[in-house]
């Protein structure tokens, strides 16, 4: 039986300070006034109070990363592979839905040929989750098989309680991580367990429920429905939905070079841009916004299911939260189900 441990704020800080000794800490911190996931040097910067602007996917799929370096000397070309990460990554404050999102990225990058740039970071990482005691109005994770206190995919789950946090070691790796501050933990008593349970119930009750299963089934014959034109008419193609989506992973590869040396970098890309599929001949297989809007929804809700048996959305709602023209995935799901 898994056990909950209580830690006071001091113990929590000691815990992440200790993690910082052995891992590169990736956690929510305030940067330019916005709480966002980032690598933090000082554990005191970690700020769990509100859901970060970004998801933590960039810990494993950085927005820009060097895949290889090269030097050019006349006809001589020398290639050097990218540097391996020195120490493993500990993501602190990852939400259950975001841990679920990593489990959706895993099959893409680990299926042969393995993308070692991603898998090496991922395999050695420690995920310290933070339960969502007050879900956002955008959230609908319970419609996608997860929940605000879901432990799946995490090593440790933290829940904010009165006077501090309660921690649950989900995996052996998580148990070993907590072991370091063992002296500062005490077993959660009945009252605390009751509080955790109450907070869990409240969070789950606050969640919107959508019939995603029916949505997925309806998509089968919705390919020609006018709904895609209606969405495309509002969409301005800014791509923010894809950048903030914890399950979007599309990337571009570009060379950056001077006269004698350079590097090949991978950068995030977005299927919402026409240039994404534009060929040098001028031909574009997805020339219109409606094609791109439809491709994005179908990729997540149909083809991910076909390919991996998983739905490619975790219900975090960031795409809707930050869409400048209020395209809301929850409304799309309800509307398709209704039609």
């Amino acid at each position: 039986m898994a056990e909950w441990w209580f830690m006071e704020p001091d113990a929590f800080h000691a815990f992440i300070r200790e993690l910082g000794e052995r891992f590169m800490l990736y956690a929510p911190a305030r940067r330019d006034g916005i709480v966002t996931f980032t690598f933090v040097e000082n554990h005191e910067d970690v700020e769990l109070s509100k859901r970060p602007f970004t998801s933590p996917k960039a810990a494993f799929l950085p927005q820009t990363e060097v895949l290889l370096k090269f030097s050019l000397r006349g006809e001589r070309v020398h290639l050097s592979p990218a540097q391996r990460p020195e120490s493993p990554i500990a993501v602190v404050g990852i939400r259950p839905c975001e841990a679920g999102a990593l489990k959706l990225l895993d099959p893409v990058f680990s299926s042969p040929p393995e993308d070692v740039h991603y898998t090496l970071r991922r395999e050695n990482a420690l995920l310290v989750g933070f339960a969502c005691t007050s879900p956002e109005r955008w959230c609908f994770c319970t419609s996608l098989g997860s929940s605000p206190f879901d432990e799946d995919g995490l090593d440790v789950l933290l829940v904010e309680v009165s006077g501090g946090y309660c921690a649950l070691a989900v995996t052996e790796r998580g148990r070993r991580a907590l072991e370091v501050v063992r002296d500062m933990l005490r077993k959660a008593d009945e009252a605390l367990l009751g509080e955790i349970e109450e907070r869990r119930r409240q969070a789950e009750r606050a969640m919107k429920t959508l019939d995603v299963e029916r949505f997925i089934a309806r998509l089968e014959d919705m390919g020609d429905d006018p709904i895609w034109e209606e969405i495309a008419a509002r969409c301005i193609g800014c791509g923010i939905c894809t950048y903030l989506c914890p399950t979007c992973y599309c990337f571009d590869i570009q060379d950056e070079a001077g006269l004698t040396s350079g590097r090949r970098v991978r950068v995030w890309d977005s299927c919402m841009y026409p240039e994404y599929t534009l060929e040098a001949s001028g031909h574009n297989p997805r020339p219109k916004r409606v094609h791109r809007v439809k491709n994005r929804i179908y990729h997540k809700f149909r083809w991910y299911v076909d390919l991996f048996g998983l739905v490619g959305c975790v219900g975090c709602g960031r795409c809707a939260e930050h869409c400048p023209v209020n395209v809301d995935i929850k409304e799309i799901i309800s509307e398709v189900v209704r039609r």
Binding site: V108, Y249, I253, G262, D269, T277, R286
Partner: protein, 282 residues
């Protein structure tokens, strides 16, 4: 420690042949691996070619597999990487990744008649296939090739075509869009010429590659003439970055052209086309 799948092998340009000149010229590059290794590939597969400092682009292998350590690919000068390749000279170093993708199912086609229909630079993967069939000639029935381009100057692999035309086990039909003085071949767009040829679907596999619009009309023409969609094959092209099914952009519905293709049957294409989210599959 496992290697990055994005790390190319270095290759030396051994030979460059000018196929066509003009506004969109085509050159064929013959390369060998600098590490002394050989390429193992099958007709229809692709390679990701790097010009270090410029970038990567995917090309169909245009030579047949011979196990001689060389591969060839043909490049039309259009964008950044293809323009850099057209500036390259013999002896220069390129990066090569691959081969990638699902090849033509040549083993399944044993005993069948083959009808191969190409247009322009689309002849590149077909040249690999034809070369393979000619070196396994007894395993296949009749071999008919219909190849077209805008003008006689835009036809690729002209010397090889001449050699094929002289063989009695290849039936070669060349066509150009508009009449030209001294041209003794056919005149007309490939799909129209195909309809006039009225090939029999009996025990025949049809394979086509060319500009997207040509592929579309050729596949429709073949279907109209009674070819079952399972016996019509094409090989597609998409903008690609990874070549290994990860970067996302080359999908047609749930299929990735880089790893599930580039070779598809018309039946497979029809199946995914309805919800594919594009302005058409091609």
């Amino acid at each position: 420690m496992k290697d990055s799948p994005y790390l190319p092998r270095l290759a030396r340009i051994e030979e460059i042949r000018v196929e066509t000149v003009g506004r969109r010229p085509i050159k064929t590059f013959r390369v060998s691996l600098k590490d002394g290794g050989t390429f193992t590939f099958a007709p229809g597969q692709c390679v990701m070619v790097s010009v270090m400092g410029v970038g990567e682009a995917i090309f169909a292998v245009s030579s047949p597999p011979k196990g001689d350590g060389y591969i060839e690919f043909s490049v039309m000068k259009l964008g950044r990487v293809t323009s850099a390749l057209h500036r390259a000279e013999v002896g220069e170093t390129l990066g090569i990744r691959g081969p990638y993708g699902r090849p033509f199912p040549v083993e399944e086609w044993r005993g069948r008649d083959l009808l191969i229909i190409g247009g322009g630079i689309g002849a590149a993967p077909l040249r690999s296939l034809i070369g393979y069939v000619l070196s396994h000639r007894e395993e296949y029935g009749s071999l008919t090739v219909l190849y077209g381009a805008r003008s006689s100057r835009d036809l690729c692999y002209r010397e090889e075509m001449r050699a094929w035309a002289e063989r009695n086990d290849v039936s070669l039909h060349l066509t150009i869009d508009r009449p030209e003085e001294g041209w003794d071949g056919l005149v007309g767009m490939v799909p129209d010429v195909l309809r006039e040829m009225k090939p029999s679907p009996e025990n025949t596999v049809a394979v086509t590659c060319g500009p997207p619009i040509m592929i579309k009309f050729v596949m429709e023409a073949l279907a109209d003439m009674g070819f079952p969609p399972e016996d019509i094959y094409t090989t597609l092209e998409r903008r690609m970055k990874c070549g290994i099914g990860k970067c996302g952009r080359c999908n047609i519905g749930p299929l990735y052209v880089c790893k599930d293709g580039p070779v598809f049957s018309y039946a497979e294409i029809l199946k995914v086309s309805r919800n594919a989210g594009g302005g058409g599959v091609l």
